[in-house]
């Protein structure tokens, strides 16, 4: 488990199926993700099993300190030769959708990707209307690298996507900055409390 100040990240299990299924049914949430509508728990179970056993992907559940599951965060397309991967964050619970939980979960995941998995680069894709996701990427120091024209078909029309990238040295610079120090202190204070 990866522990932070307000959230923990733990590996997803099949016991999380009810929550994942519930979040997947939320149309307002899913319009921000390039997924086909999924209607049955069996289909979601099949996808979850595939994800758990995939060699190039790691899925985590974001939970509060009270162990309430509030969303998912996962690393996909893990490329060990080029040392890059894609990050996805999803806060499923409506009343927890604010910058606070998402930002700390993303920071903890980046810390894990760069300092534990030894990645050179982390990138993420967002739809152009996903303003909060874009703010989150910028908050973590990501830089816009590409505008993917008419990339996603959602609600009967095509929309652009943005691709953001963060290099390891840029993440280290973030850690040196006052903002990064704040995030880092929060995660480290958690470690001290644990020991």
């Amino acid at each position: 488990m990866i522990k932070g100040r307000t959230v923990n990240l733990r590996r997803i299990t099949m016991a999380d199926l009810p929550n994942v299924f519930k979040w997947w049914q939320d149309k307002r949430l899913m319009k921000y993700y390039d997924e086909l509508p999924v209607h049955t728990p069996l289909e979601v179970e099949h996808i979850l099993r595939q994800n758990i056993s995939a060699a190039d992907r790691i899925d985590y559940i974001i939970e509060t300190k009270q162990k309430e599951s509030i969303g998912r965060i996962f690393l996909s397309k893990i490329n060990l030769e080029d040392r890059h991967l894609e990050i996805h964050t999803m806060i499923g619970e409506k009343n927890k959708r604010n910058m606070f939980f998402g930002a700390e979960a993303a920071f903890l995941m980046l810390l894990h990707a760069f300092h534990q998995l030894g990645m050179h680069k982390v990138y993420g894709r967002v739809m152009e209307y996903a303003k909060e996701a874009e703010v989150l990427q910028k908050e973590m120091g990501f830089i816009k690298e590409a505008v993917l024209k008419k990339q996603y078909f959602q609600k009967g029309q095509y929309c652009n996507g943005f691709l953001y990238g963060l290099l390891d040295r840029e993440f280290e610079a973030l850690l040196e900055s006052p903002k990064g120090q704040k995030y880092l202190a929060a995660s480290q204070s958690r470690d001290k409390m644990r020991t």
Binding site: D34, L36, K121, E145, L148, K150, Q151, F153, L167
Partner: protein, 172 residues
């Protein structure tokens, strides 16, 4: 068989494997990325259906049936009606007439038969022949992925290009 002005595209057959394996040994053939480097002949031969069952992989040949290279469409998203495209010409066939015609034939299949609307493609900064081929074939740059691939002891930028059906058919 897909016919172009200068080239034809045909599916990869077992008889092509020795030629492809020799080429793979000589250069780094990125369409075989899934197979990784230093694959043995036995491995590639025994796993033909695993590695070459995808109907989107093609041999590019000239009108005299000489193998010029390979090309492929993959990552098809039926929801977004898009896919990715790759190609590689053998050394000695770095000719824009051949490479652009290869792209043109494959794009015709993708747009006019598979009914997709967007093709995207990637090329490392050092592959100037690939980049120029995409530009000559009408692809438009969408961005540069910084330090995205590791080749020869350094990280290289990756250029992204795209081509839309309306632009392809208007220029056809």
């Amino acid at each position: 068989m897909l016919d172009g002005e200068k080239v034809n595209l045909r599916r990869i057959e077992k008889a092509d494997l020795w030629h492809l394996w020799e080429w793979h040994e000589r250069d780094e053939l990125y369409l075989f990325k899934a197979i990784k480097s230093f694959v043995s002949w036995d491995e590639i031969h025994d796993n033909y259906f695993k590695h070459f069952a995808w109907k989107g992989d093609f041999i590019t040949q000239d009108k005299e049936n000489r193998i010029l290279g390979i090309c492929s469409y993959h990552n098809v998203s039926w929801k977004n009606r898009s896919c990715s495209l790759s190609f590689r010409m053998q050394e000695g066939y770095y000719d824009f007439l051949l490479s652009v015609d290869t792209i043109h034939v494959l794009a015709s299949l993708i747009f006019n038969e598979l009914n997709l609307i967007k093709i995207d493609t990637f090329a490392p900064q050092t592959s100037t022949f690939d980049i120029q081929t995409f530009e000559k074939a009408g692809f438009v740059p969408e961005g540069v992925l910084r330090e995205h691939v590791f080749r020869d002891d350094k990280y290289l930028d990756m250029h992204i290009f795209s081509l839309f059906r309306e632009d392809f058919n208007n220029n056809d």
